[in-house]
Every structure is written in C-alpha cells, then in structure tokens.
Symmetry: C2
Subunit: 149 residues, 2 copies
DNA sequence: CTTGACTCCGTACTATGGTACGGAGTGGAT
DNA sequence: ATCCACTCCGTACCATAGTACGGAGTCAAG
C-alpha cells in the first residue's frame, strides 16, 4: 500500500481552508499535533490532518472555543472515552446556545420597546431611548463608607 | 440652587458600578468626556456622569459595542439630531440581534442532531459526532473526484 | 544554476474590553 | 502632624483568535 503523500503547510492550509499562519497558531495552541519534519525543517502533515483542521473549523462554527475543541480532541487520548463523553460536551454546548438565545431574545424585546416608544420627531434631549438607558438601576443598596460618610 | 458636589473617580465608579480603571479607559476611548480637574490633578466629575456611565453599561448589555455607543453619544453633539436617529441605530441593532438568533438556532439544531445520532456506548473511534465534523466541506454535490491540484 | 515560490522562525501587531502595577502625590480624619 | 486610603500617570498585561513581518533557508522547474 502506498503511503499517502505528506502535505506541506501550504497544501494543508489550502485543503482545509485556513491560513498557513493559522496552522502554526493551532500547533502552538496544542490543537494540531506537531508533525514530523523533513531534514530541511519543513513540516510533513499526514493526510488526516485535513480532517482534523476541518473538525476544528466546524466545531468553531458550532460555537465551541478553541479551548473546548482541544478538550474534545484530547478525549481521543482517553482509552475508555466513548461517544457519550462527546455527546455530553455537545449537550452542554446546546445548553449554552439556548441560554444565549434567551438572552438575545430579552435584548431584542428591550430594544424593540425602546424603538416603539420613540416619537421620532423629538429632539435628542428628550429622546426616551437615551433617557431610559440612563436611569438608575433597580436597587440602591447601602453604601458603606470607605473614608467619609 | 446648590451646585451638586463633584465626584471623584472612586465615587463615580462606585455609583455607576464600574471599576476606576474602567473610567480612565472610557475616557481614553472618548466615551466619557474629559472632566475638569482640581489643582491637584484629581478629576471632578459632574453628577450627570453617573447617568452617562450607566448608559454605557446598559447599552453594552443590549449588545452595542463601545464604538457604537460612542456613535450614539456623539449624536448628542449633532444639533439637528433627533430621536429618530437613535431609533435608527437601535433598529439596526435589532436586526443584528435577529441575525444572531437565527444563527444560534441553526447551530442548535446541528448540535441536537449530532447528539441525537449518538449511540452513547460506541467507542470514540466510531463516534458519529467526531466523524461528521471531520468530513469534507459542504455536500460537494459535484461528484467529480477531487483531483490533485 | 538561477529564479521564484514556498517554508522556516520569533516576534509583533490587530481588535475588543477591560485589569493590573508601581511609584509618586493628595486630602481629610484623628 | 500623621496616617493611609485615594488618586495620578504611563505602561504592561489578560483572554480570544488569529494576521503580519522580515530575513533566512529550501524546493523544483527551466
């Protein structure tokens, strides 16, 4: 069987759709295993590296940070790791996403309310949007003196 | 009428609920107007500064970046600016938020599908989550075998 | 053998939104 | 008068996710 030709940084970068510098960056971050080198120092990536880099990018698009992706990848090194471990991480991420969606919905309705209240013609000084954003927060707790009272 | 006592950085920071350093940072960023100083060099903030800083924080929570907040605040200096200008910015922000929500929903269903497919007991090597994230880009609906470039 | 593209490296820089540090000067309560 | 929290300043640093730079070395085609 033929050993698949090794890839150089430029080739891997192109196939995976990233920048060459990004590969070095991922390597420094421990996301991409350090590949063997030619005597010249050139990196020689195995063909699977393409999948790995793609994996990283996909996971990023799903909202995983590089740190989390590393966690996901490190799971491969755990002998008894199962698919369920991965599913667990994904499930946690779903919860994160749900929370973000909820937050954004709250933000959206706050914004919509402001826009709705806006009597477009009013001069800025009376703009209820500006005004309502500047009001006091809900509670005004005790203020323990630091120096003066 | 009494001139309201001027605030020092620490007081403003406490009332507005931010860090003293953050005030300096906002000042450097042009978000907070440069306040008058005592002869000692101490900043003397007018009481309104509290509202201003609160405004900044609120707007941040609504998803405005400091740059956008600056834009919002600069509007005050435009003589003919109206509430409608502010509403316009808010409306744009609503659209941004809607787009983010849509993206997150797509991400969520992609994640949910992965988790659903997962036969929890499978060893990692056959994990369909890992597998599917590593596959080639988009359904290359073009069946031509990818030739070396 | 020359040329031009590619790769190497360390370092610095981008943007975002702050925090932290350290030494010097200030102010007000005791 | 002393004490010490408070404030000043410039600068450096944090995390995140890269991008850019520049000089040196390498590879392969012509």
């Amino acid at each position: 069987m033929t050993v698949t030709a090794a890839l150089r940084t430029g080739e891997l970068a192109e196939r995976a759709g990233v920048n060459v510098e990004t590969l070095r960056f991922y390597e420094r971050q421990g996301l991409l295993p350090v590949p063997p080198r030619r005597t010249s120092g050139y990196r020689e990536y195995p063909a699977e590296a393409v999948d790995l880099v793609r994996f990283i990018r996909r996971a990023q698009h799903l909202g995983f940070s590089l740190r989390e992706i590393k966690e996901l990848l490190n799971l491969r090194a755990v002998p008894r790791a199962t698919c369920a471990d991965v599913a667990g991480l994904a499930q946690r991420k779903i919860e994160d996403v749900d929370a973000k969606i909820r937050d954004l919905r709250a933000v959206r309705s706050a914004l919509a309310e402001l826009v709705n209240e806006c009597p477009r013609a009013a001069p800025l000084a009376q703009c209820p949007i500006i005004e309502s954003l500047s009001r006091e927060p809900i509670p005004k707790r005790d203020h323990r003196p630091k120096r003066k009272s």
